[in-house]
């Protein structure tokens, strides 16, 4: 047993295997890094799980004696198992199932002894059928997703995305381990992973430089595995090898990998257009490429130089789409730090800041499509610093000034408590509609390139009494858009809406009724994925009957619209921990929120909070200002400090590599220039030292007692050995006479009584340069064709005599 374990360790856990493991792990870590940023719908924990379980399973399968087809079958089954359990969130279910079975088993001896006691058999079949439905629902979602793709109507479904990508990653992990550990073919093994990584890179804003470490590791792996193979072969054929080979090989490997990495860093990559064209040519369907790509969970790359933040947001799943179907990644990582100052016109009182719950909005959605939200097209307008988005607005708006510091990169959305009015830097707003009547504006959202900015925003307010009297005189553009519901909304939802609002007199009361009804539904984050043939609101109200903010908000909008009240969905963040020292709100990631806005004529879009567990919205007593108040035209003259642009590491590396290369070339040319102008006595020793150096690279190592003549004899024999076969033989063999010439000059400098006076240094430098190029070429030949070297050992020992006077001199 122990011997068996020992052999196992020796064979499978030796240094080489561990090394290979490590290298493969590095590759997959980089891969997961890239994937994590490009795919949405596959969160970190899922990725890590699939990768690790895939790697371990693959490794175990590869070192087992199983045949390939059997191993493949096991891999697929195992992968599906892991997939289903993880994505379908079957863990708890399975646990309780097994717990019940265990209890059941424990009960059996009891019932045998005591015939009165009955077995509790109810829960187990229930659990099993629950399990069954969940697994089947996962399968059907995947099936429907594929069906939609083939029909040309790609569908966004986060569950399908998770399944597809997880399986893909699992398959790649298995494949890699199989090929590396069983077949010892590293290139083939990491091929699919590399392809996946590089194609995913297109869809993220990560620079392709992340592939470079991958390249380096892969080169290292390939070389080392190849070397292992050779070493084994040598051992089998009883060839004696020097013990230093391995060390040299390792050094060369590392050097080569570094060289390739630097090369790759400097050479520019393919442009995004090329890849897009390629994809376009591939798809035969009238498949909208962007839709398809989005349905995979990827963000299509930005083509134009003006990055349009809004293009990405036009389509929403459920807005916080990564929450649907799997446990939301609720982290308490701070995403924003916001300082607030209420400018007016209502006097809110300074101390109230701490109790105020601000709704930081980013985007609003107007169109419900049964499974999620879409925004109709919008027009982007650039707003200059200090310029106002609106010139006029109803009186009942509170102006809030805030300083937002975003700690999360990539979003670029502008967050504000209310409609953004003006900022201290240039930003862009996306209007779905901007009409001429007062209050006729419909904002999709705003984006600002920097992560720290001051923004003034308009918060619509209304007291209960005022809103109740608002009336139902909705303008056309409101009617057209905000009462729309798709046909997929079932009757009972509409019936419910009607039931809830039948006794309410005013639209405001109706909205309040709906809100109150929803607030009673329990809040939960643990949900199975919603079925894709059922309307979301229906599912929430009559299906699962629990949920989180997206569900509440969506349902309220649906019910409100069904009841004839124009409403829309708003997304953003809510609240935040008020930090006394900073005098700011620390907004964490888990405060992502969606809520509802209802339109009231003369008052605009008023907020409602249907989510159970959240506090209701405070309505002020009065919203019309008591005095005339002029909104200040410009921002605080002490402009906030320009935020430092984050360090762009890839650019720095690129520039420094370029600089190093240029510097190297410059130093090289400069040294040549100086060399030609040195006095002879200094020049020749330097030249000859360099010649010795180049020869040393070729493996020519003269002993101390070897004179220059002895030395060049060796080099000349090398030249002749390689020169005869090479294509540039004539050019190369010129080096022979150049060498002799330089050696003669050297001798003159060293041994002639005049010490080389009268020698033309420029000419000498020129000869050296010509010689140097040829010697570099010879070095290349020696390195590329080392076998040629063997010829070199069999030259005849003819001593070389230095000519009395070289032919060029008389």
């Amino acid at each position: 047993m122990i011997a068996g374990a020992r052999t196992f360790i020796k064979e499978h856990l030796n240094i080489k295997s561990i090394r290979n493991w490590l290298l493969v792990m590095v590759i997959f870590i980089v891969l997961s890094n890239i994937l994590r940023d490009s795919i949405q719908g596959v969160e970190n924990s899922l990725l890590v799980l699939m990768i690790f379980s895939g790697l371990i399973t693959g490794w175990l399968l590869s070192i087992s004696p199983l045949k390939t087809w059997l191993a493949a079958l096991i891999a697929i089954l195992a992968g599906n198992l892991v997939l289903v359990v993880r994505i379908g969130r079957l863990g708890n279910l399975l646990r309780s199932l097994f717990g019940q079975i265990w209890l059941f088993i424990k009960q059996i001896p009891g019932t045998i002894n005591n015939p009165d006691q009955t077995l509790n058999t109810e829960t187990i079949p229930l659990l099993i059928s629950d399990l069954q439905t969940r697994v089947v629902s996962l399968g059907s979602r995947l099936f429907t997703w594929f069906g939609n793709v083939f029909r040309g109507e790609p569908l966004y479904d986060p569950v399908a995305i998770a399944i597809i990508w997880s399986f893909l990653i699992w398959a790649i992990a298995i494949w890699t381990m199989w090929l590396v550990f069983r077949h010892k073919k590293p290139i083939l093994g990491v091929g699919p992973g590399m392809i996946l990584a590089s194609s995913s890179l297109v869809y993220t804003d990560k620079s392709p430089y992340h592939l470079i470490p991958l390249l380096g590791v892969i080169v290292g792996l390939v070389i080392l595995m190849d070397y292992d193979r050779r070493e084994q072969h040598w051992r089998e054929t009883n060839l004696e090898i020097a013990s230093t080979i391995r060390g040299k090989m390792l050094r060369i490997t590392i050097l080569l990998a570094l060289m390739l990495m630097s090369l790759a860093a400097v050479i520019p990559s393919f442009s995004v257009e090329n890849i897009q064209d390629f994809f376009n040519r591939l798809t035969e369907n009238q498949l909208d490429e962007e839709d398809f790509v989005r349905s995979l969970g990827l963000e299509p790359p930005q083509i134009t130089a003006n990055v349009n933040v809004f293009d990405n947001q036009q389509w929403g799943g459920l807005p916080n789409r990564h929450l649907v179907g799997s446990n939301p990644e609720l982290s308490d990582q701070v995403v924003m730090v916001i300082q607030v100052e209420e400018l007016g016109p209502l006097d809110s009182g300074e101390d109230d800041n701490q109790q105020q719950v601000y709704y930081w909005r980013s985007l609003t959605y107007d169109r419900y499509v049964g499974r999620g939200w879409v925004s109709r097209s919008s027009i982007e307008v650039d707003i200059q610093p200090g310029e106002k988005t609106l010139s006029d607005w109803p009186e009942s708006y509170q102006i809030i000034r805030q300083k937002v510091e975003s700690l999360e990169d990539g979003q670029q959305l502008l967050f504000s408590a209310g409609i953004p009015l003006s900022a201290d830097q240039a930003f862009q707003v996306a209007w779905r509609l901007k009409g001429t009547e007062l209050g006729a504006f419909d904002l999709f959202g705003a984006s600002i390139p920097s992560s720290t900015y001051w923004v003034d925003s308009l918060q619509p307010l209304g007291s209960e009494a005022e809103l109740q009297q608002a009336g139902q005189d909705y303008p056309d553009w409101i009617r057209d858009r905000y009462l729309q519901l798709p046909d997929s909304v079932p009757e009972r939802v509409i019936a419910l809406a009607r039931d809830l609002t039948v006794n309410e007199a005013t639209p405001y009361d109706r909205a309040i009724a709906i809100e109150a009804y929803l607030r009673k539904i329990p809040y939960s984050l643990e949900l199975p994925p919603p079925p894709n043939d059922q309307d979301l609101a229906d599912y929430f109200l009559f299906g699962v009957q629990k949920g989180y903010c997206d569900y509440y908000a969506t349902t309220m909008v649906v019910l409100a619209r069904a009841a004839g009240i124009p409403a829309r969905l708003v997304t953003g963040y809510i609240g935040g921990f008020y930090d006394q020292e900073l005098d700011a709100y620390l907004v964490t990631a888990d405060l992502a929120h969606s809520w509802v806005e209802v339109y009231f004529p003369d008052y605009g879009w008023i907020m409602f909070e249907p989510t159970g567990g959240r506090s209701a919205i405070d309505r002020p007593e009065e919203s019309k200002p008591k005095f005339f108040w002029d909104y200040p035209a410009s921002f605080d003259p002490f402009a906030p400090e320009k935020e430092k642009t984050p360090i762009n590491w890839s650019q720095i590396i690129q520039v420094s590599i370029l600089a190093a290369v240029l510097l190297g070339i410059g130093a090289f040319l400069l040294s040549d220039f100086i060399l030609a102008r040195l006095p002879v006595k200094k020049q020749l020793p330097i030249i000859y030292k360099r010649i010795y150096r180049i020869a040393r690279w070729m493996g020519v190592r003269p002993q101390p007692g070897d004179t220059a003549t002895d030395f060049i004899q060796v080099v000349i024999h090398l030249l002749r050995a390689y020169g005869s076969g090479s294509k540039r033989a004539e050019w190369l063999l010129e080096a022979e006479s150049l060498l002799k010439e330089i050696t003669w000059t050297y001798y003159l400098v060293l041994f002639h009584p005049d010490h080389g006076q009268g020698i033309q240094t420029r000419e000498t430098a020129l000869i050296y340069r010509m010689l140097r190029t040829r010697m570099w070429y010879l070095w290349l030949l020696v390195r590329v064709y080392p076998n040629h070297f063997l010829r070199f050992f069999f030259w005849e020992n003819e001593p070389l005599s230095i000519p009395a006077y070289p032919k060029s001199r008389n």
């Binding site: 101390p704 070897d706 001798y747 041994f751």
Partner: protein
């Protein structure tokens, strides 16, 4: 220096008509001549030692003397003797073979020490004294002595202290196959030496000998030279290394080598070229060395490899 170069070329080419294929050795002999040194040829019988001496003598048009040493030879057989001339009623000096410009002393190790020392003294002093009368030797005087390294019976090996007198020790060795065939061809009808004509005069040689003394040695080369010699004294397996006579010989021979290539300055290559022949016979190996199968050549090779030359990388 160009003159010396042409002179040596002529000599070498001329001698090479007789001595086939041994250009390096012939050059060494010419170097020895120009350095005013004496040459010891240690070799197996029948490879051309005598021929070398004779062709050298004929090439320079100089007088050629030959002593075939035997154990019963007397010093007077070397130096010459005063004979009473009855007609003139006085003693006349009949010079011995030593009074030639090129002297071949064959099998010098077969002579008795007394006879050996007579010759060696002549080599050193450049004169002989017979019956109180000093007779100077010719201005150009070179001894080519031979030793057979195989036979040891009945020989009196030259003591190392005396062997120092010879500038160089060379050996010819067997010819290569092609060369041997060439020898057969050349000697088909008659020996080529009979056709050999002088190509330079003794005076030219004497001039060359003086002229090459102006060949320049850079300080680094002198240091290298002395390093070499000193290393022979310090080497592990050497009991006694080379004396300053060796350094001097190396110096002069180095100049000669440079001169025959037409150069005005000596390079370390020149030194290395002649260092073997010049220093080899001056080393006395430690007793243990012979047991280890080391001989002077291996030790010298090691010294050459390790002593850094001024133009080397090290």
């Amino acid at each position: 220096m160009k003159n010396i170069q042409t002179l040596s070329e002529k000599l070498v080419n001329n001698i090479s008509q007789v001595i086939v294929g041994k250009k390096q050795t012939v050059e060494l002999a010419v170097v020895c001549l120009l350095s005013q040194g004496h040459l010891l040829i240690e070799d197996i019988p029948g490879v051309g030692k005598t021929m070398l001496a004779r062709s050298l003598a004929r090439s320079i048009g100089g007088t050629f003397g030959r002593i075939q040493f035997t154990p019963d030879m007397l010093p007077s057989d070397v130096t010459g003797v005063a004979i009473y001339n009855q007609a003139k009623e006085k003693f006349e000096f009949r010079p011995g073979p030593v009074m030639s410009e090129i002297l071949l002393a064959d099998e010098i190790n077969r002579a008795t020490p007394k006879t050996q020392s007579a010759l060696l003294e002549a080599m050193q002093e450049n004169q002989i004294t017979v019956d109180g009368v000093t007779h100077p030797l010719p201005k150009l005087f070179m001894v080519l002595a031979t030793q057979n390294p195989i036979e040891h019976e009945g020989t009196f090996r030259l003591p190392e202290a005396q062997i120092d007198r010879f500038l160089m020790r060379i050996s010819l060795g067997y010819p290569k196959r092609k060369e041997e065939i060439d020898i057969l061809d050349r000697q088909q009808y008659q020996h080529p030496i009979l056709e050999l004509e002088p190509v330079v005069s003794v005076d030219e040689v004497l001039e060359a000998q003086q002229a090459l003394r102006s060949v320049h040695l850079a300080d680094s080369v002198k240091e290298y030279l002395v390093n070499l010699v000193q290393r022979t004294r310090e080497a592990d397996d050497v009991y006694l290394g080379s004396s300053p006579r060796g350094s001097l010989g190396l110096y002069r021979a180095g100049q000669a080598v440079a001169a025959i290539q037409g150069r005005e300055f000596v390079t370390p290559d020149d030194i290395k070229r002649v260092a073997g022949p010049i220093l080899g016979h001056r080393l006395i190996l430690a007793p243990g060395a012979r047991l280890q199968d080391l001989d002077e050549n291996t030790i010298l090779e090691e010294i050459f490899a390790t002593v850094p030359t001024p133009d080397s990388e090290g």
